[in-house]
Amino acid sequence: MKTAIPSSEDKKTVCEHFGRARYFAVIESGENEFKFIDNEINLNATQGAGIQTSTALINEGVTAVLSPHIGPKAFDVLKSGNVKMYLLTETDLTLEDALKKFTNGELSEMEGFKK
């Protein structure tokens, strides 16, 4: 399993905006260090940032995303790419704590948006 978390510029805390996160912290199960994917290209998008971020993560081989929020379009893309999405309900978490919550099974899967 390969897990991704939207990260702020500091590369330490979770970014609350999925499509406009500066980086994505990615980690394979079994490894203990994050690798960071640069997401700057989507920072400047007027619209559809979540969609393009999602395709980038899928192409990276990510299979699970932990995020405070994922918009309806990004949700659809990730779902069709068989990526599981888990909700971070607490704000201002560190990347480590977010991952810990996930490995401890404390996170629940996100629900979709009604069209």
Partner: protein, 283 residues
């Protein structure tokens, strides 16, 4: 003077721009060939002034071209997604999805597809309805619920213009739809209220019309003891207040019920004065 377009706009909603545009159009239509176009396509309500016209004479579909993918021909090369500046196409592995609500119908994906897998399909975004009220023709754009192609529909409504005098009721605000509405207007009437917020919104609207180099004039609606708020600003900047429509309980009532006030004596002379001013500015 032939074929002029007069846009009624305001920096924000609630200034009474629609009722003013409707009354002005109705007044002029007494002896002229007039078209009133409702360009506030997300919330069209010019129609409340013409309750006899429940059914449009004609209802025309408004469309934009949205791509469709032939999955047999598609090689998932991702070129279309890369070129789409609106991020409306997602390509990954052996999947491609198109997000209609982000697509602006530009056709660039169709142009760049090397395998001919994309074709453009006319997709409805709303309707352009045509009505007539005695000598006054009316068109309105009605955007489909949830659709966001406001600008395309506004452009389409204006394709139906055909009269000696064309009056636009523009969407409120100073964002893209308002700009699109006044783009081809010969004269812009900015309707404002004498309040600090009204003045702020007016100053933004003036910024837009000046940038577009449009001729414009200001009407103070719901005029009262506070008119100086707007008048001082206009005097300082050399802008012209064409006319003032007083705040009057009867008028407010009439507007609320969708009734006209143009044929009341004092108001018909105001309508004439507005028209004379615009005519004068056109020369």
């Amino acid at each position: 003077m032939n074929n002029i377009s007069i846009a009624f706009a305001s920096g924000k909603g609630g200034t009474g721009k629609t009722s003013l545009a409707a009354n002005f159009a109705k007044y002029l239509s007494q002896d002229k060939n007039v078209l009133l176009s409702d360009l506030d396509v997300e919330e069209p309500n010019v129609n409340i002034f013409f309750p006899d016209n429940h059914k449009p004479l004609k209802s025309n579909m408004s469309t934009i071209n949205i791509p469709e993918v032939d999955k047999v021909k598609c090689t998932y090369c991702g070129e279309c997604a890369k070129k789409c500046n609106f991020n409306a196409i997602a390509v990954f592995k052996d999947r491609i999805s198109i997000f209609n609500e982000l697509c602006k119908g530009c056709g660039r994906c169709f142009n760049v597809c090397k395998t001919g897998a994309i074709h453009l399909k006319k997709t409805e975004i709303g309707k352009v309805n045509e009505y007539s009220n005695e000598s006054l023709a009316i068109t309105e754009g009605v955007l489909n619920t949830g659709d966001i192609h406001t600008k395309s529909l506004i452009t389409d409504v204006k394709n139906y213009k055909h009269c000696e005098i064309n009056i636009y009721d523009c969407p409120p605000g100073t964002t893209c739809p308002m700009v699109e509405s006044i783009l081809d207007a010969d004269f812009v009437v900015l309707v404002t209220e004498p309040t600090p917020f009204g003045l702020h919104d007016l100053s933004l609207a003036i910024e837009v019309v000046q940038k577009l180099q449009k001729r414009f004039g200001i009407i103070i609606n719901k005029s009262n003891d506070n008119d100086f708020i707007v008048e001082e600003y206009c005097a300082q900047n050399g802008f012209q207040v064409i006319e003032k429509i007083p705040f009057d309980r009867d008028i407010a009532k009439k507007c609320g019920r969708g009734e006209f006030y143009y044929n009341d004596d004092s108001y018909s002379s105001k309508m004439q004065k507005i028209y004379d001013h615009i005519k004068g500015a056109m020369i």
